[in-house]
Amino acid sequence: MSIKRADKKKEKKELIMQRALELFASKGFYSTTIPDIALSLKMSVGNIYNYFKSKDILAKEIIKYISIYLGNKLKDINEKDISTQEKTRQIVEVYFGVALLKPEMIDYFLRIYLSNREVFQDGCEGMICVNEFVTEIMIYFEEGVECGDLRDQDFFSAFGLFMGYLGGMVFLKGENILPKKLDEYVDDISINIYKALRT
């Protein structure tokens, strides 16, 4: 396959994932069918299957796509020569930024990936499909402890505090409960997280 053709196929694949992601996040995984996705993209159902052999495979590819997208943003932050406190703020900012610009990504993670574990059992064991994102959070924690800014503790107790807090805020925003815009919470929330994790 020529490079141009391969690029085109990759682009098309991403387009399908993006549209499927929006539909899964808004209508739910089981209420969305491959014909629904094909219809919204003006593609034939058969052609969709040329890219993804099943709806389950598409679902798994989407969570990897989100993980890589968020992981790359966090990697940029981790590689900056800034304090752990500033990294904390930037991670919160990026997460909320994605929740505002691409709310379907965070919704998919919270409402599809975490709520339909049976779909992800085979092929997404443990944290395999969110590996890129979790790896960057691990590096943020590890380097924070190594430089003496963060308190050493079990990874999951820190991970739960960080991600549970952010996920909770995005959920409240999705339910239209928050009185302020999500980005107005960045400073307070990043200070709260940093104070909870620091030495």
């Binding site: 064991e125 790896t135 590096i139 924690f141 402890v145 190594e146 050493d152 503790q153 820190a158």
Partner: protein, 294 residues
């Protein structure tokens, strides 16, 4: 008739004599002595006394140094530095045996002033013996394996080229990590921890302080007493061949939020965590069970 055997001076500085003990366990010592003779060795019958070595001019081909060195350290009323210099100038090769003689090691912590190895203070090169550096081969280890001493001496005797690493150690023995050849490698690959010293199952890298993945040596290739190694027997590698030895807590893996601070040699943190994340997701029943029914 003059003996054609290669003449060795085994000089001890600040040491526990552990490398001497190790060498005495060399299984082919009788054959070795057909090729080499000790003009002086603290534990093996030799032709001269230490006083002879210091006060007379005695022919010598190889100088072996065991133990850390300090300008303050005196041996038979002579500074160890002077004895080294006297013989270093005349021998073909100088061999430091053990981590103390090579990098300072355990006795770097002694009360003698500025105690170091012959050419290194841990990894930092020193200048006191710079003029003899090109003659030196470092055989680190606490102690060094007797085969490594004997085979290095045979290579010198056969005038074979010995390729060294940046710390003057023969690559033949130190290009590998101790992890290479460990019988627990499957457990390492699938991140299955050992929960009890002495058990045959599990890897000791995650919790029990095993330094093998970032320690250069042949312990799992050239077995101790020809049968075993620390890690095979169920004790973590303590990194005794490295200039950083002793690193402190031997039996506990230093971790930051559950992530080991020291990773396998040459493996980037992101690479390690990605692989670890994948393998940890799987449960392999065979590796989670005891190998033998008790």
């Amino acid at each position: 008739m003059l003996s054609k055997k290669l003449k060795i001076l085994w000089l001890t500085a600040i040491t526990c004599n552990g490398n001497t003990h190790s060498f005495l366990n060399y299984p082919h010592l009788d054959i070795f002595m057909d090729t080499f003779e000790f003009i002086y060795h603290p534990s093996i019958d030799s032709a001269y006394t230490l006083n002879d070595i210091i006060n007379k001019e005695i022919a010598c081909d190889i100088l072996i140094i065991e133990g850390s060195i300090s300008t303050e350290y005196i041996k038979a009323d002579a500074p160890i530095v002077d004895i080294i210099n006297k013989y270093a100038s005349k021998v073909q090769k100088i061999v430091t045996v053990g981590t103390c003689a090579s990098f300072g090691g355990m006795f770097r912590e002694s009360d003698y002033k500025d105690t170091t190895g012959l050419h290194f203070d841990k990894e930092r090169p020193t200048s006191l013996f710079e003029h003899i550096k090109e003659k030196t081969i470092s055989l680190s280890g606490c102690p060094v394996h007797p085969d490594i001493i004997a085979n290095t001496l045979y290579s010198i005797e056969k005038k074979r080229a010995i390729e060294l690493d940046s710390l003057l150690r023969p690559k033949e023995f130190f290009a590998y990590t101790v992890h290479n050849g460990c019988t627990r490698n499957e457990y390492f690959e699938y991140k299955i921890d050992n929960h009890q010293f002495g058990k045959k199952e599990g890897c000791m890298f995650y919790d029990h302080g095993c330094h093998a993945p970032y320690t250069h040596g042949s312990c799992n290739k050239i077995l101790w007493n020809e049968v075993n190694s620390k890690t095979r027997a169920g004790l973590s590698c303590m990194g005794c061949t490295e200039p950083t030895f002793p690193k402190g807590d031997f039996f506990h893996t230093k971790k930051n939020m559950g992530i080991p601070q020291y990773l396998p040699f040459g493996v980037a943190k992101r690479t390690y965590l990605t692989l670890a994340g994948i393998t940890k997701a799987f449960h392999i029943k065979r590796l989670e069970e005891d190998l033998f029914d008790d």
